[in-house]
């Protein structure tokens, strides 16, 4: 069995995005111990850099040792106790996943349903909260990776707060790609992923909790169902102070990569990164429309970092994707769930989001549409 030799792909799917050579280099730095004083310094720097990325001063801001889905579960199971009613907004796959997690940890989900491809409707949320005054948590997705729709996180949070609910916001695909201001918008808890607009390999989930969320967790009546994901225990290691208590062994080298990726983001500047994503996305949408195709999501709700394109009648979408992969080394994503076969998902996230990649893609896409 030979050493694995991965092809060089242009990653324009729903994530992972391409990883900067500088981040790849950081992954290969020599491993040190997870209690090494130098590593503890690195942890502090990562927390500080994540606070910048999330635009927050939350002390409880750190990368959890698992992929984005683990971060989702971490946030929900720490904030939900058995019997709690939780409003979950569903406008794609990831809202649906939240609902399943709420159920598995003993909560009762109350669903705000929305057509896939649209933003969550704030009026629908308000309606549901009016009818259910005993709810104390609202969960929704900021940037739905399965559809390409952006919800109005600021307004949804305001409504939730006006009904005395805390908010859990999924920012997996928004962090680093579009405007996100945890403190200014008063988001109580949020989880993200490293393999989208932060352009790291997958495997870590940056999370942040404000004081209200931390208080709620500290005052739980029941213990969190998971030992691995219990914030009270995890913070013994990731919390403030010189003394770090061993909880689990942190993924050292993955954290080297995240540190470098966050440094690159800070170097560019968050606002500049948001602008870059927007600009390249507009270029992509224009090019796609010039090929005679339609963008699936209406302009004002469109995510710049994940553009969904409606598959025209008579085209086998899977063949187009295979052709792009095999002939052009370009990966794009398929539709999921009810959108399977109906859309392509074209990512322009993080390091992938540049003008040259847009041009390369458009020319290859034209070729693929012609040949399939």
């Amino acid at each position: 069995m030979p050493t694995f030799n991965p092809p060089k792909r242009l990653l324009m799917g729903p994530g992972p995005s391409n990883v900067s050579p500088k981040v790849l280099e950081a992954l290969a730095l020599p491993t040190i111990g997870h209690l090494d004083p130098r590593f503890v310094e690195l942890m502090d720097e990562i927390k500080e850099l994540l606070q910048y990325a999330f635009q927050t001063n939350n002390e409880v801001t750190f990368p959890f040792s698992g992929p984005g889905s683990a971060g989702m579960e971490l946030c929900l199971i720490n904030l939900i106790e058995p019997g709690d009613k939780v409003v979950v907004c569903i406008n794609g796959v990831f809202g649906g996943r939240m609902k399943q997690i709420v159920e598995r940890c003993g909560g009762t989900p109350i669903v705000v349903e929305q057509d896939w491809g649209k933003a969550v409707d704030p009026e629908k949320l308000e309606e549901i909260l009016k009818q259910n005054q005993d709810v104390n948590l609202v969960a929704f997705v900021h940037a739905e990776t399965s559809t390409g729709a952006r919800s109005d996180i600021k307004t949804l949070t305001q409504i939730a707060h006006s009904y005395n609910c805390l908010v859990v916001a999924d920012t997996v695909t928004s962090l680093g790609g579009i405007e996100l201001k945890i403190d200014e918008w008063d988001i109580d808890a949020s989880y993200s992923g490293t393999q989208k607009c932060l352009s790291c390999p997958p495997g870590l989930s940056p999370v942040t909790f404000n004081q209200k969320a931390v208080d709620k967790i500290k005052n739980r009546k029941s213990s969190v169902q998971s030992w691995f994901m219990d914030i009270n225990l995890v913070l013994g290691y990731w919390g403030q102070g010189a003394k770090r208590t061993y909880h689990h062994t942190a993924p050292i080298n993955s954290l080297y990569g995240l540190h470098k990726a966050l440094l690159l983001l800070k170097e560019e500047g968050l606002e500049n990164a948001w602008e870059r994503h927007q600009k390249n996305s507009e270029l992509l949408c224009k090019g796609v429309e010039e090929l005679g195709l339609n963008i699936f999501v209406k302009e004002e709700e469109r995510l710049p970092e994940l553009v969904t394109v409606t598959v025209p009648n008579g085209i086998d979408e899977a063949k187009v994707r295979s052709y792009l992969l095999n002939e052009h080394n370009i990966e794009i994503g398929a539709g999921l769930g009810v959108l399977a076969g109906k859309i392509w998902r074209i990512g322009l996230m993080g390091y992938t989001s540049n003008e040259e990649n847009v041009k390369t893609f458009l020319s290859a896409f034209q070729d693929a549409l012609k040949n399939k």
Copy 2:
């Protein structure tokens, strides 16, 4: 904030161990998608290589996307339903952790207590099982990383089976370091870690389940409490067959590293690796005794990959560790729990286990003992 530049440490603690430059190199290979056909090939190869490392033909053998503690939780919560009585053998920190997880998923732990530093006593296990005929799962640790003791996994498993119990064995520190034969010894479920004798960075947990364990999971009355760790869902992605269903995004680059580390293990040969660990450990123990110190665990129960040394009276163990780290760039581990301050934990795991490292360590250790 500058780019992180880790020191070059000789990692002789309880893990992570030093990582081969070839594995570090693999980590930095270009990221590809988690549904890329080439990546699916890599997944199949990793499963095959893990089957070799575990000495099993179990189809359900794969690296779970989390550290060893997540693997522990995965095994237990999939095999335990609320109300189940579970025998947990505790002879160190990790048995204690198992007990907490059993409680959190609604099981009732029945504990086989053993002094820390000793192997689990098979007679005690048999006694407890005789008294509790309604138990159907026994959990124990093969190689206790907190004490350096090796339990007789084969005999413990035979006893458990004779009382119609399945077995979950923690092989975090044994896989690749000492004899471990999942099929021959009929271990039903086991989890390990990558940062010990496999010499990868931490972050993944190789797991294996035999058919009896899989059947038990498939016939559960209740759903698994965790969405992220539900084996039924995880296997949609890691299972057999050409069609892989997206569950969570796999940690691509970490898996590149694991693939390479497993290739190196196969190249060396499992038996040769076991022998190397044994030989270098004997050299270490001899040298430590020549310095006038005592090994904490009696010879027949001693782990070669993790040697625990009793701290002599009048020595500040923390100062010795700091001196080794700061003056010699050598990391060793402290005692945990009841053994804090009483032992040092000296790892000779995977890539770290060679004669030169033993000599380097002994000379530095002598210096540290003299100077502190």
